[in-house]
Symmetry: C2
Subunit: 139 residues, 2 copies
DNA sequence: TGATAAACCTACTTTGTTACTATGTTGAGT
DNA sequence: ACTCAACATAGTAACAAAGTAGGTTTATCA
C-alpha cells in the first residue's frame, strides 16, 4: 500500500526537520544518514520540492530545507504528494473514470469509509510530533 | 492498496449471500451476474474455498455456498484472506524479516497506528450489513 | 453406464509499476 | 575558472497483478 517512495519521503522530512536548523542540507548527507541510494533519493526530493514542501538550492552550500514550520506538515500531505494518492481502491482515485456499476455497487460505501478513516488518521499527525523523541502513534 | 482480487472477492461474497439461499451457486452464474471473467473468478473462489469461507461442490447441481451465517463474516476477514495481508507497509507483514532500523525508526509508530485503524474499521463491517439495501459506510 | 455439469489443478502470458541506475546539464558560490 | 550540488532525462531489472488456456476429477441424471 505505502511504497518505499512514501516511506522514504517521510523519513527524509523528519531527517531534515531534525538536522536542518534552517540551513540547507545536501542530498548526500541525507542519503548516507538514512542509508538510501543517492540517485533514488534524488527522485523523491524532486517530488517534494516540486510539491512545495522543500526548497532546493544549487551550488556550494546548497541542498534542501523545509519551506514551512514542522507543525504545518501532516503525514497525510507528505504521503499523498509522494504516493500520488492514498485511495484504497482505483475507483476513488482523483481523475478515475466513473465506474459503470457505481449506482448498484454495494461495496462503494465500504471503500469511501476506509478512505475517510485513512486520511483522517494521517492528517491528524504532524511532522513536529515525529521529530526528537517522537510520539507513539500505535494505538 | 486493495487489488481487484480483494474487491471481486467481497462482491462475490455479497452475491452468494444474496442469491444463494442455502443452495449451491455455480461459478458461471456468479461470473455473468458480476461481469467477471470466469477463469479469473475461479482463482478467487479457490482462495475463498481453501480459506474455509465457501463450500465447493462438484458435478451437476454443484457450485459454491457460504459456510457460515452472513453475520459471521467481516470485511476484514475476507480481505485479509484474499489480499494476503492488509499491512500498510512491508515491515508489518506477518513473517517479514525484522527491520534493522526498528529501534531508531521514528515512523514505525505511524504505520502501526495506521494498521490498527484500517483493521478496526474493516473488522467492524459484517457481510450481513452489506446484503440487500446495504448500509452507507461512507462517513 | 455413459453423458454432462461443474469444481479443481497447473501452467503460462501480458501488462504495468516499483525501485534503482547512468549520464549529462544548469546554476551558485569562492 | 573551478567545484559543489541541484536539476533533468532516459533507461533497466525485477516483480506482482490480471487474465488466459487446457486438462483432470467428481458428482448427478437418464
Amino acid at each position: 500500500m505505502i511504497s518505499t517512495r512514501g516511506r522514504y519521503a517521510l523519513r527524509v522530512m523528519i531527517d531534515i526537520a531534525e538536522n536542518g536548523n534552517g540551513r540547507y542540507i545536501p542530498l548526500d548527507e541525507i542519503a548516507s544518514r538514512q542509508q538510501i541510494s543517492e540517485k533514488y533519493l534524488e527522485s523523491i526530493l524532486v517530488i517534494l520540492t516540486r510539491g512545495g514542501m522543500l526548497n532546493g538550492l544549487r551550488g556550494k552550500g546548497g541542498g534542501y530545507k523545509l519551506t514551512k514550520a514542522t507543525c504545518d506538515y501532516t503525514v497525510g500531505d507528505i504521503l499523498r504528494l509522494t504516493e500520488g494518492s492514498l485511495a484504497p481502491v482505483a475507483c476513488l482515485k482523483e481523475g478515475a473514470e466513473p465506474c459503470a456499476r457505481q449506482n448498484e455497487c454495494k461495496t462503494l460505501g465500504v471503500w469511501k469509509g476506509l478512505d475517510t478513516v485513512i486520511n483522517n488518521y494521517l492528517d491528524g499527525i504532524t511532522l513536529d510530533s515525529l521529530v526528537g523523541q517522537g510520539a507513539d502513534y500505535s494505538i
